[in-house]
Symmetry: C2
């Protein structure tokens, strides 16, 4: 039997569908002392496994699990003083806990198709019912994170087996959203 391809502990054994009436939950960083807490009101969207080198992921994971929520549904409710922005020039302003390093929220504030959304990692919450992962994004980028190229076929096959279609950019829906934004900005698309 071939060795199992481990991607991320939240999906390696399969996962449950989200709950339709999910009310939200609280993300908690990894600190035992004064953990940062972020309250998320309601359900997340576009939850996915991501291979990019910017997303936070737990030790040993190849992919991160990341989703978005409307920024006004996301509130830091404890120990906000421990948060700092990883890279103020990035599109996603990842706010990391300066002690444990976990990324707690990543709002998009600049003029962008995703402005008004905040990226977050649902695995940081104990609540159950978050939207399940829907697809895999930026999969080829795991090579830039140190994964050997000859593992790529196995990684993409395992994602498909889990029902997560692997993309090397975002999903078609999100890529179309980016192009729609660009087309409106350039004036090509008027509506």
């Amino acid at each position: 039997m071939p060795e199992a391809v481990l991607l991320h502990p939240a999906i390696d054994k399969g996962f449950q569908p989200g709950a339709d009436d999910f009310a939200g939950g609280t993300l908690v960083c990894h600190c035992l002392d004064r953990p940062v807490k972020v309250e998320v009101k309601g359900q997340i969207a576009h939850n996915h496994a991501c291979g990019c080198t910017q997303c936070w992921k737990p030790e040993g994971a190849i992919l991160s699990i990341v989703a978005v929520a409307p920024t006004d549904h996301v509130t830091v409710v404890a120990n906000a003083d421990k948060l700092a922005v990883v890279n103020p020039a990035a599109t996603i302003l990842c706010h990391a806990c300066t002690v444990c390093g976990v990324h707690m929220k990543g709002p998009v504030e600049k003029d962008h198709a995703f402005r008004g959304l905040t990226f977050l990692h649902p695995e940081l919450s104990r609540e159950e019912g978050w939207q399940a992962p829907q697809f895999g994004a930026f999969i080829s980028s795991v090579i830039e994170g140190g994964v050997k190229p000859d593992r790529m076929d196995g990684i993409r096959a395992r994602l498909r087996q889990l029902g997560l279609r692997p993309y090397d950019c975002l999903s078609p829906t999100l890529m179309d959203a980016l192009s729609i934004f660009a087309a409106r900005k350039s004036g090509v698309l008027k509506d």
Copy 2:
């Protein structure tokens, strides 16, 4: 019956597989007077339908058909004086005919995974036997070229029907090649 989705005249009625022993051919621009001619020795690779806004495409086409050949297999053999580089800052240095506007060759010369390859449009040749298109790239970008977003499902479905898997970036093989290049450059991948 739904209206046919027209993508590019070279694929709209289907296409033939390439010839294994193909010796190459000559690309000719659209000028009747002093056409630019580019000789391509041997077969092309990674031939695909492309939705980006930079590629040259014939009037009315939504996608371009573009492939690569090793740069040292590509030689301008007539009326080179009519060629000019469209954008010297671009990765692909598209050389266009300054009279008819057709892109005749696009070498990659900068430090890049595709350095040493030249992008070209096999439809500009009368020879038969060029590698058939293999996939669709940058499909979401057609929106930035003026295609209405509500046509995207039909466009992706038609590509699949033609056996061309639609991607919103390049194919996994080429995306992995880009990541391998980046990983070697950063030192993450040593081999």
